[in-house]
């Protein structure tokens, strides 16, 4: 009997070692350890043994049983592990294939410039003022010291609808309207972005529709030096801390004195190159101290209040900043153009 058990043990262990998968292993477990298995069968013959031999034989049988169980468990872990590994191997993918694209749009480059400027001035205490694109001649010209017949009206030939109504040629009428609403009281700190229209044939540098951003500050004791300091902050934030500004005298009917602001050329660092036409400077915007006639017409006491105003073209800024060579790109909306402005700088 003892030999029979040893024999079964060796036989079972051999089979466990040979087992190829979990099912086979389970079959082995059932056939050797089950109630109808050979070990149970052997133990049925225990009754024929002497009382001394019985416990010995019982212990031996348990030993054999435990050994087989242990071997099966061990084998089971090994087989499970192999199965998992096999599964993982089968699940291997090519991680270099492109991922599923996230659908994403983007804002227009002009909006990008305009919002950047808005946010910059909002940080300096400005609010954003807007007004109609179809304007009265009064707000577009007369309230800005451009009476009918003024030669400077030639500078911006306009689209008239009636004799008194036109498409605004600049965003300055928003300034005139804001001043009028404030009824002669300060302070005012606004920037006015928007679309404007002029009678130009569309070409690489002209567009009959374009955008402008103007700023206006009115308070007691506003100085030209405040304008210079404000524009310096703007230029350094917008174009880089290493850029210098230069003011040049100019002429606008609604400001006196009037200036134009240049920034030092990024390409050549101010030494002169083709981008800046050899001057080292690039023209960015027009500005000046609000003309006393403009203040008075809007109900401000020009003895008490002074102010400055500035105006710039987001198209020009975008063209300079991103190297865009044709203003018409902004209005053609070629997706290959628009997509280029998705990245942050």
């Amino acid at each position: 009997m003892q030999e029979r058990l040893k024999e079964l043990q060796a036989e079972a262990l051999e089979k466990v070692t040979q087992a190829a998968d979990l099912k086979e292993l389970n079959d082995i477990r059932v056939s050797y350890l089950g109630k109808k298995g050979p070990i149970t069968e052997v133990l049925k013959g225990m009754g024929k043994l002497s009382p001394e031999e019985r416990p010995k034989m019982g212990a031996l049988a348990n030993e054999v049983r435990d050994m087989i169980t242990g071997a099966i468990e061990e084998k089971q872990i090994a087989l499970e592990k192999a199965a998992v590994e096999q599964k993982l191997a089968a699940e291997k993918i090519d991680v270099t294939l492109p991922g599923r694209p996230v659908r994403e749009g983007n804002h227009h480059p002009l909006t990008r410039i305009i919002e950047e400027i808005e946010d910059l001035f909002i940080g300096m205490g400005y609010t954003v003022a807007e007004g109609p694109e179809v304007e009265k001649d009064y707000y577009n010209f007369e309230a800005l010291n451009l009476p009918k017949g003024h030669p400077a009206r030639d500078m911006q030939d306009s689209f008239y609808i009636t004799e008194e109504i036109l498409l605004r040629t600049h965003t300055s009428p928003v300034q005139a309207r804001t001043m009028e609403q404030k009824q002669g009281k300060g302070p005012i700190k606004i920037i006015c972005p928007g679309k404007v229209y002029r009678r130009d044939n569309d070409d690489a540098t002209h567009s009959h529709q374009f955008t402008q951003i103007e700023g206006l500050v009115i308070d007691e004791n506003i100085r030209l030096s405040d304008l210079k300091g404000t524009l310096d902050v703007f230029a350094k934030k917008m174009f880089g801390a290493d850029r210098e500004i230069r003011l040049r005298p100019s002429f606008f009917p609604f400001t006196e004195p009037s200036v134009e602001m240049d920034i030092s050329c990024k390409m050549c660092g101010g030494h002169g190159c083709s981008t800046c036409k050899g001057t080292g400077w690039i023209e960015i915007l027009g500005a000046g101290m609000v003309h006393p006639n403009v203040l008075e017409m809007a109900g401000y006491d020009s003895k008490k209040y002074t102010g400055f105003a500035f105006g710039m073209g987001p198209e020009r800024i975008a063209m300079l900043k991103y190297g865009v060579d044709d203003i018409r790109h902004f209005y053609t909306n070629d997706i290959r153009f628009l997509k280029q402005f998705s990245v942050t700088e």
């Binding site: 609010t127 109609p132 009265k136 400077a152 609808i161 498409l167 302070p187 006393p292 909306n333 997706i335």
Partner: protein, 804 residues
């Protein structure tokens, strides 16, 4: 204004200041110098030659064989193709080794078998614009005067050894439309003196006033008219130096008399006009407004019909010039002219501007009058011109000037305090510094305590108020020297308005949803202006459009976005999603401004999803664009207030279009573009929406309020309802929501079946209903009670049968 650096030296000493340096200084202190051009840049080896022999080329009909003395030991043979070359001429010769414009190098050559050692040049070949070359030389080579010395530098003789400063003048600085004006400006900048010409004429016995009587009817338009008479004039070419200065300033030489008037125009900024006295037809000049319908043929041979808005110079009966703009052909100076009537007058801007605009005629004269000339120069300019006519046209200047003068010439006197100057600029200048600046400008000033009073010369008509004086101080003090400060007043809160914030939110949402922002034109054509409009209104029309395509303001944005899709589709980008926010314009009657409504529109076409290598492609459909809109309204807190209902709209697919309402009022539409429109524009299936964004952004939303997280489980029941095909999901849903009451927390469609297994005319639509009570755990019985009611309601109200 083109300013010759060499010529300018007659008025200001420019020693030690190069043209480039001068340009930089002028720019910094007020007038933008747009460029400094060196006229003879890159040119060399061009000398004066004497044509000794000239005969036909033996082998070429159109060529000449010449022998030219160029000041060397031996004359050289040159083959010349110019039709006007002739023996005895003094010409410009590009010698062997010379360089002409465009880096064109002259080498020894053989032309049809004959040696050619150089090239006889036209002015064009020397880099002078064709339109500036005098007519007699425009088709061939240039001839120097006979007495010109051979071998000398031809470019220097032609004034090409010069640099030209191109001034970009703003309208206020008309004073710099003259060499004298530029002289004053440069003298002030360099702190040097200005030298003025001092015309002298020999005295004559005959008096101008015996030859001509001058009177002015339109005194407001013409406060001062003067006429001088120059007799025994010989018309011929003007001296070479004068011609070259005119050319350098962009004016073509004609003859001595006309050139002199143009030369004075450049020197003094005072337009002059020379009439042939004998052709005037009377001994009288009368300046008046034209009669309605009166006609004149101007020097350009154009017949012009005049109105009472135009000022004319007449001989007492008929016009002989359109005042300040252009002379008449009837009294033009010509080769036979012997007596010249020289007009120097002060016309006011508006009347000249009107004539110039009405007749599309902009002359050197009119542009100066429009911007304002210096009335104090009317007489000196005439004197100087008369002097030159005596010198260079052999004329005899008659004594005196016939004049009609109603001008009161009062220079502006303007005062400003030092405190004001410093407080506007932000400087701490002293009175001495301020005075010194006005002295540099040659403005007379007096100081009384804190106040400086300045007498402004009439040449600077742009200075009338104290701010103008402050500007003069600021620009000559130098903007580089102005400190940088920031406004000192009370702090103001900087922020976007709620509307502006929401608009940005809308844009970011749409961009996150995959749409690109487009910006299109507001001006469009008749067809597109009203297409897809939300409201049937007349479009706003321009009075004088530049083209039919940009003649009206848009009433909707969708047509513009479809153009964007069309443009891109034609360029192999046919899966697109774009949106735009912007104004549309609704016409009002009379002088009221149109209403401007901000709209939001979007257009999508092609594939919505396209994962290339996984092969997943999904074209856009109605529910894609509707989903974008629903998400937008949810974001804006308006989901409960919005509804969609089937609608028909011109240009849209009749079965795939919905009207969008907000609180029951229509705010826009969404749907598929009509297949015929798609086909016309070569577009695939395209879906669009347009909304009145203003209404959407101004709609009130409930304040954001926290809602507790559910502690009890919910129970879900799914039902599939068989209904008539035309029953809408929205209809069924509203019945369910209404009947479901408080317990029904959520309901949504999860399936739609319209396939073969359905009875004809029927469809199955499946809803998922979620029941929930925030206070307790619901039992099956609770739910069943409500759920039965729901089923009964949909059956009774919509004929819905629970699908087996």
């Amino acid at each position: 204004m083109l300013v010759s650096y060499k010529w300018l030296q007659e008025y200001v000493d420019l020693t030690g200041v190069s043209a480039e340096e001068l340009g930089e200084k002028i720019t910094k202190s007020g007038i933008e110098v747009e460029g400094v051009e060196t006229l003879n840049e890159g040119l060399k080896g061009i000398v004066v030659g004497h044509v000794l022999e000239c005969e036909k080329h033996p082998n070429a009909e159109k060529l000449n064989k010449t022998l030219v003395d160029i000041g060397g030991e031996e004359p050289v043979q040159i083959i010349c193709g110019a039709p006007n070359v002739a023996k005895g001429q003094k010409v410009a010769v590009a010698t062997v080794g010379a360089v002409l414009p465009g880096n064109f190098k002259i080498k020894k050559a053989k032309l049809r078998g004959e040696a050619s050692n150089g090239m006889i040049c036209s002015l064009q070949e020397l880099g002078i614009e064709a339109k500036l070359v005098a007519k007699e030389f425009s088709e061939g080579i240039f001839n120097f005067p006979e007495d010109t010395e051979v071998g000398q530098d031809a470019l220097a003789l032609l004034g090409r050894d010069d640099q030209i400063l191109e001034l970009g003048l703003t309208p206020n600085r008309a004073d710099c439309l003259s060499m004298l004006g530029v002289g004053y400006e440069v003298a002030a900048i360099l702190e040097r003196d200005v030298k003025l010409p001092e015309p002298k004429t020999a005295s004559a016995t005959e008096k101008a006033e015996d030859y001509i009587k001058v009177s002015v009817e339109a005194k407001e338009d013409n406060p001062l008219y003067t006429a001088k008479v120059i007799k025994n004039v010989k018309i011929g070419p003007s001296p070479l130096w004068m011609q070259t200065r005119l050319m350098a300033a962009g004016i073509r030489p004609h003859n001595n008399v006309v050139d002199i008037t143009n030369y004075i125009l450049l020197e003094y900024g005072q337009p002059l006009h020379a009439f042939d006295y004998d052709l005037l037809g009377s001994k009288e000049i009368l300046v008046r407004r034209a009669k309605q319908g009166e006609e004149i043929t101007t020097l350009d041979d154009a017949k012009r019909t005049l109105t009472e808005d135009h000022l004319v110079i007449t001989n007492g009966s008929v016009p002989v010039a359109l005042a300040g703009v252009m002379g008449g052909a009837n009294s033009e100076v010509n080769a036979d002219t012997t007596t010249v009537l020289l007009e120097s007058a002060y016309f006011t801007g508006p009347v000249i501007r009107k004539a110039s605009k009405d007749h599309g005629l902009r002359s050197e004269a009119s542009s100066r009058y429009e911007k304002g000339v210096d009335p104090a120069r009317v007489r000196p300019a005439a004197e100087r011109a008369a002097e030159l006519m005596a010198l260079y046209a052999g004329g005899e200047v008659l004594d005196g000037t016939a004049t009609a003068d109603s001008l009161t010439l009062e220079p502006a006197v303007v005062s400003v305090t030092l405190e004001k100057i410093n407080s506007v600029i932000g400087t701490e200048l002293t009175m001495q510094e301020v005075e010194a600046i006005f002295t540099r400008l040659q403005f007379k000033s007096t100081v009384d305590n804190d106040t400086i009073t300045v007498t402004v010369p009439t040449r600077r008509g742009d200075i009338t108020i104290e701010e103008d004086l402050i500007e003069e101080v600021a620009r000559l003090f130098g903007y580089d020297n102005v400190p940088k400060t920031l406004p000192q007043g009370a702090a103001t809160p900087g922020r976007l308005s709620e509307y502006q914030l929401k608009r940005r939110l809308v844009r970011r949402y749409l961009e996150g949803a995959g749409l690109y922002q487009a910006i299109t034109y507001s001006l469009t054509n008749q067809e597109k202006a009203t297409q897809f409009a939300l409201e049937k209104r007349q479009p706003v029309e321009l009075a004088m459009p530049m083209s039919e395509d940009r003649s009206l303001l848009r009433l909707s944005i969708v047509p513009q976005l479809l153009e964007v899709l069309k443009y891109n589709t034609a360029r192999q980008n046919d899966s697109l999603a774009v949106y735009e926010t912007g104004a549309v314009f609704l016409k009002n009657d009379g002088e009221d401004l149109p209403e401007e409504e901000e709209h939001l529109a979007a257009a999508i076409t092609g594939l919505w999803e396209n994962h290339q290598w996984q092969g997943e492609k999904k074209p856009v459909d109605f529910y894609v664009i509707k989903g974008i809109l629903e998400g937008l309204f949810a974001k804006l807190g308006l989901a409960d207030k919005i509804s969609f209902s089937a609608a028909e709209k011109e240009g849209m697919h009749p079965g795939r279009t919905a009207e969008v309402t907000l609180n029951g009022a229509a705010i826009g539409f969404v749907g598929q573009v009509h297949p015929t429109v798609q086909k016309d524009m070569d577009l695939k299936e395209t879906y669009v929406f347009e909304l009145n964004l203003k209404t959407v952004l101004e709609a009130g939303t409930a304040p954001l309020q926290y809602e507790s997280i559910p502690r009890f489980p919910s129970i879900t029941r799914d039902i599939a309802l068989v209904v008539d095909k035309n029953k809408s999901a929205a209809e069924l849903q509203s019945i369910i929501v209404e009947t479901g009451g408080k317990l029904l927390k959520d309901v949504y469609v999860f399936d739609l079946y319209e396939g073969e297994r359905m009875e004809v005319g029927k469809k199955s639509i499946a809803f998922s209903l979620k029941y929930f009570d925030p206070e307790r755990t619901l039992t099956d019985e609770d739910v069943t009670k409500t759920h039965e009611k729901v089923l009964k309601a949909v059956e009774e109200q919509a004929g819905a049968v629970l699908r087996g």
